[in-house]
Symmetry: C2
Subunit: 389 residues, 2 copies
């Protein structure tokens, strides 16, 4: 039967463009077939955003085929038919007997496909770092004629520069981030529990903005006094009180792409300590953004921030940002001292200035920006203030 496609995030031409850059890179490494295992890379090359990577799955990119083939658990295959740009025949569901089976798993179905399609005699690129040792061994022993080439992050690096279409989706995500932070400023009140505020903010992230819903809930954290030295602890049933500080990290998500945004809230006037770190961090944030231009490096942007912060007598241990897009953090370029990645137009970053200074004190602010032709364009639009409730 023919399964109707869900609303597609991108036209077919966009996926073929992405695949052509992957295939060019494969050719340079003498790789004929590439197994894409990372969930974000699969999203990038197919449109699939369903969270089914809890069991083995692989997108097989054959340099000689226009469309990739996606092999995944049978019960998740219909979701791929709805979401992926490929024709339905390129979706292969493997049987349930490979789930919870101590002897075989979904990777055996991937190996069977390669053998049956005659693709096992060539050099075979695999994102090796995604695989447990025993699985890699299985690939080698069951595909003895294939030469395995580690292609970890091959696709990931290609995701760094976005297309105009991707930037448009990230703008939609950023609008959701702004709407959710506005909602936070409406619901964080003395006497309200952390969980009740979190419920409203999560709902805003899903409802979305401008008629475009959030399609997943990613990386949403609400850390309140006395737990403001933490970055990822779950919300609790505790009640906000006069003098409470609340650090919020959130990001709207559209079709896999997120746009991170962090702000700090204070019930009552901010303490002197909070006021001082806020001023230093905002000045550092602006210095970092001013250092963004095509041709400058990640390290230069980071050091513009760190230098400014140190002038105010503060420091920050964690990096001050990372490449940002599908799956939140792209594990490639970091805004940190020594990262010599050169900025290019339409790279996107989460300038992540969360600063957990002491075990019992932290402060957060961040923006999502793209590198424009001349500088930085900030996609998130929320005021750069401590929200005083």
């Amino acid at each position: 039967m023919t399964i109707p496609k869900a609303a597609q995030a991108f036209p077919r031409t966009e996926y073929l463009r992405r695949l052509s850059t992957v295939k060019a890179e494969m050719e340079g490494r003498d790789v004929g077939v590439l197994l894409v295992l990372d969930a974000s890379n699969i999203t990038y090359l197919s449109g699939y955003t369903t969270p089914s990577g809890y069991v083995p799955q692989a997108l097989v990119v054959n340099a000689e085929a226009e469309e990739p083939t996606f092999i995944l658990r049978r019960c998740d295959a219909p979701a791929a038919m709805h979401e992926c740009f490929m024709e339905q025949g390129k979706i292969i569901g493997y049987p349930e007997s490979l789930i919870g089976n101590p002897d075989k798993d979904g990777y055996d179905a991937v190996i069977n496909f390669l053998n049956e399609a005659g693709l096992a005699k060539r050099s075979l690129g695999i994102e090796v770092s995604s695989l447990p040792a025993a699985t890699l061994e299985k690939f080698k022993s069951r595909l003895p004629e294939a030469r395995v080439v580690d292609c970890t992050k091959l696709v990931t690096w290609l995701r760094l520069v976005k297309s105009e279409l991707e930037i448009e989706v990230m703008r939609e995500a950023a609008a959701i981030s702004d709407a959710a932070m506005k909602r936070a400023s409406e619901v964080i009140r003395p006497g309200v529990t952390e969980a009740d505020a979190a419920a409203e903010i999560a709902a805003a992230l899903i409802r979305g903005a401008n008629g475009k819903p959030g399609t997943a809930l990613k990386s949403f954290y609400l850390c309140a006094s006395p737990r403001i030295g933490t970055c990822h602890i779950p919300w609790t049933g505790d009640v906000f009180r006069d003098g409470s500080q609340i650090n919020v990290e959130l990001g709207g998500t559209r079709h896999g792409y997120s746009a991170g945004l962090m702000r700090t809230f204070s019930i009552g006037a901010p303490s002197e300590r909070l006021r001082r770190i806020h001023e230093a961090q905002v000045e550092g944030l602006e210095a970092a953004l001013a250092a963004v231009r095509p041709g400058s490096t990640c390290s230069e942007v980071a050091n513009a921030f760190y230098t400014t912060l140190r002038k105010h007598g503060f420091d920050k241990e964690t990096r001050c940002g990372y490449a940002h897009g599908i799956g939140w953090l792209e594990p490639t370029a970091s805004l940190k001292d020594g990262d010599t990645t050169e900025l290019k137009p339409n790279m996107t970053f989460h300038l992540m200035l969360g600063n957990w200074i002491e075990d019992d004190f932290g402060y957060v602010i961040s923006e999502t920006f793209r590198v424009s032709g001349t500088g930085a364009e900030v996609l998130t639009k929320t005021p750069r203030k401590v929200f005083e409730i």
Copy 2:
């Protein structure tokens, strides 16, 4: 400085009891030190529920020490101080220089700890299946005097039988599941978008029930016509219409423990196809629950379901349930043909009867139950009906 503990899910004695069963199992395998890497196993043995496993971390259980030592990223260490039952000195944060570093990572900090504490000369249990090949190699080469023993699922199997205290937390989670499904029945209406309904249901899962909030949002899916052949596809901006079917999977979560619940909704009278599968599945569900008793096997329970379903002319490819608790699915016992795990009191399962029959049609119903002294006690209390809107 001393960090105040957050509200603890369990008393210290409960964690020491769990650790004593782990240590007995370690002794049986001649393992002196166990590295626990799986996030759910870390929760079980320490109380830590913060989602920081995106970078390396390890709970080190030394057979000769009362409390384990937890080694994790420095910026997440304060969350461990708030959440874990151990004294603060047992929390070790590793420096930021190990993040995004191509040459070293957090596992090097774990190895350093073992070397410095003199724990590297003994047999060393590791949950090997959680590790990439290169990392396992690093453990072996940097700890040449240790004999590595694969202890994958050692702790996981011990989690299968719950204590009364754990059952109480799962009851709280189940009450949240019921409240959220009730909310679904209030907000699923013709003309409402999938995302707006999802927002309300997610908020209900976080707000919780009986004054006890949900502490995380886990495994929440809403799949509506024409995508009811899928199990995990994200909600969209589409509008529910007369004749739409909506399959909802959700679960309240408390302190890491979830209680799954699935129900099917129909806008307007259910189709003949939906009515028939519902009747068959409910009869199968009741047959499965009737087969639960201490001493019977997972396979017997599953076959009570499958036999009943087949009498009605249906089949179900996926297993009909799994051990359930921290981290949703416990990867140990499955309710499927051939699983000879013997039921014992206070084992808990998600009797998961989602049945994706065709690429364009599926139906869901499920309950969370515990094995009681004589049969099954169902923790979720939602009516077993197709919710007709």
